[in-house]
Symmetry: C2
Subunit: 462 residues, 2 copies
């Protein structure tokens, strides 16, 4: 065996049939629900021009973009020029265009923005799209963090209506309460405009991340230490004093809004944020939303990016970070020169949802296979006879197979067992003469002789 | 607008919602049928270690593999070593490991072989798997040839039974005769052992490709010119004389087999090939196969690779090359040190099937959208009322949406039209008072007032 070097790049994964069946269950659930709300699928290429991607994710993000080596650089005639370019690229810590012009997508958001701008004349706005494709990041791999993983994004672009925010909350609610998915979650909601308002009234826009991080620790470290941390981050005493009602924000949504209105009374944008939050909560209260939705003034994910609503979804039963998140962005397509197109969207982390479902035993046992019936192969005559039965059973939409080789019964039954096939059909000389099938339930061991029609009925019912 | 540089790498594509809905229809049909025959999905990472891929596709193939630039090469301390390596790589026309260690998969076959060997202790053989993922090739892009395209592979590995060949023919037959796919095709079948037998009896194993290419031209250029071409390729007069019954092969399958048996009488492997072909045809004749299956002694695709059956599927109504092909390989996993594992499989070209269906108008008009109903947005009160109706309609599995903005009626109806939404719901003050919905059929223009239950019934029936 020369398989010592066998393997796959670190941070990537193979998916076995039983993993795939479960993953597809998650993807199919998301698709079904997205489509029910009028979202349509698009796909973009795995590779984009590097110029499309760089500069969109910050310096740190840029470092994590996988770049594709130009093909045929060796065929380039001018080797001296190549060497010179390579040396230059080493000095300047960036890749030369001679080496690389294409890169693997880092997320689905920037390719979506590029798509919208490039195809804007063919798109009917508001454009409701979903996209489920892998993305690649040259991150240091660790538990739960991969270099290749799927994103499942659902966005509407070209509409400022808060109905879209409500709809996304409905979608999140429906996904996690789906009968067979059933992952208890908490939805956290904030609005960037409230955070902007806070920055405005305390006159410290650059401190807003430090402030939300500090406030978020209230439960853990208490008021005194939160204020201490704010001081350490050079937030002024006056600002800390102004912030007190926000740090101590508690009670019902209405009580929180009253406290916020008091602090943000002088900020137009802050009051706008409060009004938006109130409208969204008022609307979802009229709908049959099963999930707890909580206003959280410390929620600030992707702050540079979002301009209105901010969403985050946490699994209640598993410590795993957020399993869905997003928000409104007023200028996503601006990076490609198309101004004033507002959008809002969320991204579902299929890999994390899978991990949560696995850890909380949410996958049904039968989800690990798709094949329902296997015919044992007894020999040439039986094989030929069974092929006809198989065709009839399959034509009723039942997944079925015949063991292809005429080998020992035990080996054939082991195969069915390992593959999780629930029923085995035994058709020997007697069964052929009687025009019947001996059907064995692999779970109970029970055997009965049935006609084809009865077998089809039994399999369709179980 | 600074969108002058907007675009995607040549040879790659964006897929719009209407294209996606149609492509998904093809993928879903393939999946459904593969699963019905007991095949289960796997997925492998987009990137493999370069050592896994190189040397498997010939020198030409190796040149077409997209390689990933190592991340953080700039952080490497020893810049002199890097430069030296780069120069060496230029001299030797191959990439240095310092530049690249990973590459994008070129097909699904080699990753599948790697998967089988790597996970052989977890796999129950025979292993029936399907895999539908994109592959990347740095080919010169041209009409119908892309740098990123999907392969849809279905293989069984670990079984020598000819039942597998029969099953793949059944799958091909079922796919192309699927009610809504319905692409008339011709399946061509050959056996590598027959070609080996021919090479054996004329003592010219290295000429077998030249010979099949020449014989294939019989219909076009006639017997005299075929023989001439064989002479030009340095096939001996004696060999050409021996080949005459094969070049002129015609008539029924039985007649062809008799002629072949005569020529290959002295070749054990040749006779084995004939026997296999006869067994496969005998079995499919007992099954209800609708597609024409034709024996074609000139079929030789991927000769270095296949060891038994060779399949190729051609669309009858469109000139487009093969839309599906494959064969048996006795030593696929041998490249990774796992010997004597025989497999057989075919690959469906989803992109080409799409092109054929498009050119022959096989896509139903309604395939271009998924949303069935849109509520017009008349204002705050109506909006709130409609959200309740929407929830009820969606809970019946119907894809429906409300126009999110309160804008001009015409704009809203244009949106529904452009998106191909078949029905529009008009709910104003009157409808609210009457507890009814005015349902407008966007194709006929017909309007009627219905209860929610009646709307649901109407939409479910159409």
């Amino acid at each position: 065996m020369s398989d010592l070097k066998l393997g796959i790049p670190k941070g990537t994964r193979d998916f076995s049939p039983s993993e795939m069946v479960r993953r597809n269950f998650i993807f199919d659930t998301l698709k079904k629900i997205f489509q029910k709300y009028g979202y349509l699928p698009i796909e973009t290429p795995a590779m984009e021009n590097i110029t499309t991607l760089t500069g969109k994710y910050g310096d740190e993000g840029d470092q994590l973009i996988f770049k594709i080596l130009n093909s045929r650089i060796h065929e380039s005639k001018n080797k001296d020029l190549l060497k010179e370019e390579f040396e230059k690229s080493l000095e300047h810590s960036k890749n030369s265009e001679i080496l690389t012009e294409k890169a693997l997508r880092y997320d689905l958001t920037v390719p979506f923005a590029r798509y919208v701008v490039q195809h804007r004349n063919d798109i009917t706005f508001p454009f409701k799209r979903y996209q489920m494709q892998p993305v690649w990041r040259a991150d240091r791999p660790q538990k739960g963090r991969y270099r290749e993983f799927y994103q499942c994004d659902v966005d509407v672009i070209g509409s400022k209506s808060l109905l879209n925010e409500v709809e996304l909350l409905q979608i999140i609610d429906e996904v996690f309460n789906e009968k067979n998915l059933n992952v208890p979650v908490l939805i956290k909601l904030n609005n960037r405009k409230i955070l902007s308002g806070i920055a405005e009234v305390i006159g410290a826009a650059d401190k807003i991340i430090d402030i939300t991080v500090a406030i978020d620790k209230l439960d853990k470290i208490g008021l005194v230490k939160v204020n201490e941390e704010l001081r350490q981050k050079n937030v002024s005493e006056e600002a800390i004093s102004t912030l007190q009602p926000i740090i101590k924000l508690s009670g019902s949504l209405d009580e929180k809004m009253i406290a916020l209105k008091y602090v943000l009374a002088s900020s137009i944008i802050g009051l706008e944020g409060i009004s938006e939050i109130q409208k969204v909560f008022k609307t979802i209260n009229t709908l049959n939303i099963k999930t707890d939705v909580e206003f959280d003034v410390t929620l600030a994910r992707g702050l540079n990016y979002y301009t209105g609503a901010i969403f985050e979804v946490k699994a209640k039963d598993v410590e795993i970070g957020s399993i869905c998140g997003g928000g409104r962005y007023d200028d996503l397509t601006g990076i490609f020169g198309m101004k004033d197109v507002s959008g809002v969207g969320v991204s579902f982390g299929a890999d994390r949802i899978y991990d949560v479902m696995l850890q909380t035993n949410k996958f049904p046992a039968e989800a690990a296979t798709l094949t329902k019936l296997m015919f044992v192969n007894f020999g040439d005559n039986e094989e030929k006879y069974c092929l006809g039965l198989l065709a009839e059973i399959r034509s009723n939409g039942i997944s079925a197979e015949i063991y292809p080789d005429q080998t020992k019964m035990k080996k054939q039954l082991d195969y069915a067992n390992n593959k999780g096939i629930a029923y085995v059909a035994l058709v020997g000389e007697n069964e052929i003469n009687e025009n019947l099938i001996t059907l064995k339930n692999m779970n109970t061991g029970e055997q009965k002789k049935l006609s084809v029609a009865e077998v089809i009925q039994e399999l369709n019912e179980n």
